[in-house]
Amino acid sequence: MEKKPVMLKIDQVQCHNENYATLFFNHGIEFIPGQFVMLWLPEIDEKPYTVSFHSKERFGVTVEAKGRFSQRAVALKPGDLVGVRGPFGNGFSFDAHANVCFVAGGCGIAPLAPMIESVPGSKTIIQGARSDDYLLFKDRFSGSDVHYCTDDGSFGQKGFVTDALADAMANNMFDMVYTCGPEVMMKKVFDLCEANSVRCQISLERYMRCGFGVCGACVCGKERVCVDGPVFESQQIRTLDDFNKKALLKSGKAVTLNDYFSWRSA
């Protein structure tokens, strides 16, 4: 079957703060938490975004305004058309009756949110951002054990999510830690998990083209982030040499993550 972008009308735009907005579409998609869609703005570009809200007939995508594409995306209005391909990727996996912890940095809460909502039973959520204003979905997970951290202490605990995770691990035997956020943060989370023999799932980002495992733009080590990922488990992460080290630019050039995350600002 043809898988061209399907043009969907934006039903609602929820502005979380001046940099974050969620675009909602009244459209059913088959979806596993952690999967992403490719959003196309005609004549601009097409980029991958995690599905951050999902119900039978509706889904949402939360965008952080950073560059050329995302700034336009957050400025869209209800009624505007956006092309959608997907969902793509493997999504998170889950064992029933597990005691799980979610660790999100900034926009990293986006892929975790539908997972949090779909996992039954006891769960710990650790969510961080630079400041109060950047904390997404604040009332969304009421009922769960939620810990907030901000870099500036403007909401919740002052400090990093990794500190909060270390604390939580001291008091809990987690079966699985799910994390998404800046790669350096995920690396620290993973290291903590390894030290405590806790399994971990991370969600990676790389430059993407096809979204279905053919073009090789998104490779991280020997894995294709678009189909082998974006979610990777401890066992894979251990052999994922490029994790928190290397990424390919649009040209295919391999660079450090620092260079990768700044090239586009040029």
Binding site: E2, E43, C210, A217, S251
Partner: protein, 300 residues
């Protein structure tokens, strides 16, 4: 399933098509591990190039359309990758392109020193207005670029990759043979085509036009390989839409020595190389025959 190709022993007659996955050492190694006989790198160009904006690759169900636009770090900016590749234990083909004969020569000379097992000349990429298209649709320019590259590549076999857009691909093949090509690869993407999104009224691909690949182009690829084998005696890597062992048999009966695989990675995963190899071997066994015996059989 061992095959000898231009003096190299391959573990499978399958070849990874250029531009499919081949962006880094790790993934090339994985593809080899998945049963691929020769892995081809993404085409390397003379200068850094981002390629086109997205959308660049769309799944049409019966094939793909793409206008990636020849992104490349540029041959001089891949030191780390060349280092990794030197340590490889698998047959590697380096695909290169240029916008002029001298650019082809410049890239070829540099790349040859890195010691790939084969150098593929992408004289057929439709996704860039400047790069390559002209060469592969014209026998004279094909001759020029191949003979010039041959002068700087020493012992490394040179494999021009041809486009089905040529009015007579057989003539292009002959020109390449006369210019000293060691083998040929056919085909690059067909078309080109265009998709228009009727809601936004815009072409979907950022570059508007893109090359067609996958199952829908197999009949074109088979015809091209057949015509090439009528005109030359060079070994041919038959590429275009090969998805199953039966497709590989068809390509080999058209005259191919090896079969390239690209878009089928989408439908059958990276293991498509071992899968096709196994299906091909099984077919040969069931029919009590060999690769050599069926090669070119459809010409009989």
């Amino acid at each position: 399933m061992n095959v000898n190709f231009l003096g190299k022993q391959l573990k499978s007659p399958t070849v990874l098509a250029s531009g499919i996955l081949g962006n880094s050492f790790d993934i090339l190694e994985r593809v080899h591990g998945a049963g691929c006989g020769i892995v081809t790198m993404k085409s390397i160009g003379p200068a850094p190039r981002d390629g086109h904006n997205n959308p660049t690759v769309i799944d049409l169900g019966h094939g793909l359309i793409n206008a990636v636009g020849l992104p490349t770090p540029g041959f001089r900016h891949m030191d780390e990758e060349w280092e990794d590749l030197e340590k490889r234990d698998f047959p590697l083909s380096a695909s290169i392109y240029g916008g002029s004969v001298s650019e082809f020569v410049e890239v070829a000379k540099f790349v040859a020193e890195k010691g790939p097992d084969f150098i593929e000349l992408n004289i057929s990429c439709p996704n860039s207005a400047k790069h390559g298209m002209l060469f592969g649709t014209n026998p004279e320019s094909s001759f020029d670029v191949v003979s010039a590259v041959k002068r700087v590549t020493g012992q490394i076999p040179v494999i021009p990759k041809l486009t089905p857009q040529a009015l007579s691909i057989g003539e292009i093949a002959k020109a390449c043979e006369e210019a000293g090509a060691d083998a040929l690869c056919a085909i690059n993407t067909a078309g080109p085509g265009m998709l228009i999104d009727i809601e936004s009224r815009k072409p979907i691909l950022a570059y508007k036009k893109g090359g067609l690949s996958g199952q829908m182009i197999r009949p074109i690829a088979v015809r091209c390989v057949y015509e090439i084998c009528q005109q030359t005696t060079l070994p041919v890597i038959g590429l275009g839409g090969v998805t199953t062992g039966r497709d590989a048999v068809e390509m080999i009966m058209a005259g191919a020595t090896l079969v390239g695989v690209g878009s089928a990675v989408k439908s059958r995963g990276i293991d498509v190389f071992s899968t096709i190899t196994r299906e091909l071997a099984q077919w040969l066994e069931d029919h009590g025959t060999t690769l050599e015996e069926i090669r070119g059989a459809a010409h009989g």
